[in-house]
Point group: C2
Chain length 256, copies 2
DNA sequence: ATAAAATGTTCGCTATTCGAACAAACGCGG
DNA sequence: CCGCGTTTGTTCGAATAGCGAACATTTTAT
C-alpha cells in the first residue's frame, strides 16, 4: 500500500490512521455502524474497516451486537486525554459560573478545531438561553462571535484557505457569508479585541466574545456571553457585557 | 510480534492498539510527552512509540516542538465521537439546569467507565459547591453515590472482581473501603433505587444519586445532587432531594 | 572533561496487514 | 416462495509496513 503520511518510510503507522478514521466516522448521524458503513465513511476497504472495528471492540472502545458496532464510554478517554492534559476546562468553569450569575446570561468557553468551535465549558442561569448547547457541542466557526475571535488568530492566508474549504452558508438571513465581509469581521476582532455575532447563528440570539490568552500571550480559547436580542441591544451589550468578559478573562489568564 | 488481541490471525490491528495506548498516556500528570516517556507509559518500544507519535502529529492529533509532543484539540473528536453518538448530554443538560435551580444544589450526570465515573453533564448554582468538577472529570466509582448506582448494575461477580482490581483506599476517614460493606452499599442501591455518599469522597459533602434508564430499562447513566453537610442532613436529603431527582429522571427517561 | 545513562533513529527482516476473490445474507420483482 | 442481483462479511496468499536490536546522539552525573 502507498505510504500516505510520511516522506520517509518507517515513520508512520497506517493502521493507526485507519483506526482513528473509523472512530471519527461515528457521530450524531451514525451512532452505530456496520462494517460496510464504517468502510464507506472512513474511506477504507471493508476488510480494513472490519479489522479496526474488531480491534476497537477487543480493546473496549466499541461493542458489537453481531451486526452493528457502537462506541463505548471508554472512547471518552481519548478525547479527555486532551481535556485532562490541559487545565483550561477546570480553570474556567468557576469563572464562567460567576460571570453567568453576575450578568444573568449564558457564558461559554470554546476552542477552535479546524473550521469548527468546540465548547469546553459552559454556564447558564435559569433565565438565560440554554439553546441545547452542551460541552462538546460543535458549531461552524464563521457564524459565531467565539469563532471569529478564534479565527482572528490565523493568518489571512490561512483564513482565506479555511473560508474556501468551508464554503459558508447562511444559518439565518443575517449570516455573513461572503469572503470579504467575513475577513473584515475577523480583522475587526483582531484589532478591537472582541467579536460580535448578531443573529447570524440563530435569530433572536446576540453574542459577544473575547480571547483567552496564556502566560506567553498565545490565544488558547475564547469566552463569550450570549443574550436574547429582545433583552439587550448591540451597543448595550458592548457597554455592559464586554467589561465583565474582560474582567473574567483577566482572572483566567492569571491562572494559566 | 505476538498477536495479543485476537484468537485468529488477521483480525487485529496492532498499530491501532499501540496508538490508542499512546493517546491514553497523555493526561493531567503528563500534558506533554517525549518519545521515551510515551514508550514507558504506553509500555511500547521507543521506536513504536515514536512512529505512533509521528503519525498522530501527521494526522493533526498532536503537535511536536522537537522534543515534546502535546495533544491538539482535534483529539477531542475521538472522545466526542462517543458523546455525539449518544444523545444523553444534550438531553440531560436542560433538565439538570432546572433541577439545580429548583433545589439550589449542584446536579450532575455521569457514566461508568471501568472503575471510574465520568461526568458528562453538570449544573451548579451560585450558592452550590462547584468543587472544581467539570464535564470530563473522573472519580473512582466506589466513593460516590453516582458510582454506587452505576455499579449496582453489575453482577456480584463482576463487582467483586472490580473491587479487587481497584483496591479501594480511604478518600476521607469516612470512606467505606472493605469489600463486604461496599457490596452492601451497592446492593442497597440496587434494591432501594438510589445511593448516598456521606462525606466519603470529601468531608462536608453529601450526595444522593438515582439511575437513568433508557426506553428498554437499561441503566445508561446516573444523576446526582450534592449538598454541603452543614446545609442538609441525610434524612432531609432523602426526603427533599430524592423526589426532585426522581421527577427529573422520569423526564429524562421519557426523552430517551 | 569524561563516562554513563538516557533518548532518539535506522534498516534488514518477518509477521502483520493488505484487498481481490469468494461466501453469505439480504432485498426485490415476478 | 423462488431466483437473481446487490450488498455485506470473511478469507488467505502475498507484499510490505512495522518491528526492535543495534547504533547514534544527547543529556546527565561525577
Amino acid at each position: 500500500m502507498a505510504n500516505t503520511g510520511s516522506a520517509q518510510t518507517g515513520e508512520y503507522v497506517a493502521g493507526l490512521e485507519k483506526g482513528l478514521a473509523v472512530i471519527e466516522a461515528f457521530g450524531a448521524r451514525h451512532p452505530r455502524l456496520t462494517i460496510s458503513e464504517a468502510a464507506r465513511l472512513a474511506e477504507l476497504s471493508r476488510a480494513s474497516a472490519r479489522r479496526c472495528l474488531l480491534t476497537l471492540q477487543k480493546l473496549g472502545y466499541a461493542e458489537y451486537d453481531g451486526r452493528y458496532f457502537r462506541l463505548t464510554p471508554r472512547a471518552l478517554r481519548l478525547g479527555y486525554a486532551y481535556v485532562m492534559s490541559t487545565p483550561l476546562p477546570r480553570v474556567v468553569q468557576p469563572v464562567l459560573e460567576t460571570l453567568s450569575e453576575r450578568t444573568h446570561e449564558s457564558a461559554s468557553v470554546a476552542i477552535l478545531d479546524a473550521a469548527e468551535i468546540v465548547f469546553i465549558a459552559r454556564s447558564t442561569t435559569r433565565r438565560s438561553l440554554s439553546a441545547g448547547i452542551a460541552v462538546g457541542t460543535r458549531l461552524s466557526a464563521y457564524g459565531t462571535a467565539t469563532g471569529r475571535v478564534l479565527l482572528s488568530n490565523l493568518t489571512d492566508a490561512a483564513l482565506r484557505a479555511l473560508i474556501r474549504e468551508t464554503a459558508p452558508t447562511k444559518l439565518t438571513p443575517k449570516t455573513v457569508t461572503d469572503t470579504p465581509s467575513l475577513l473584515s469581521e475577523i480583522r475587526n476582532a483582531r484589532t478591537q479585541g472582541y467579536a460580535i455575532s448578531d443573529e447570524e447563528l440563530e435569530l433572536g440570539l446576540r453574542s459577544i466574545a473575547v480571547p483567552i490568552r496564556n502566560a506567553v500571550g498565545d490565544m488558547v480559547a475564547a469566552m463569550s456571553l450570549s443574550v436574547q436580542t429582545a433583552r439587550m441591544g448591540r451597543a448595550e451589550m458592548v457597554e455592559q457585557l464586554l467589561p465583565a468578559l474582560e474582567t473574567a478573562r483577566r482572572m483566567i489568564s492569571a491562572m494559566l
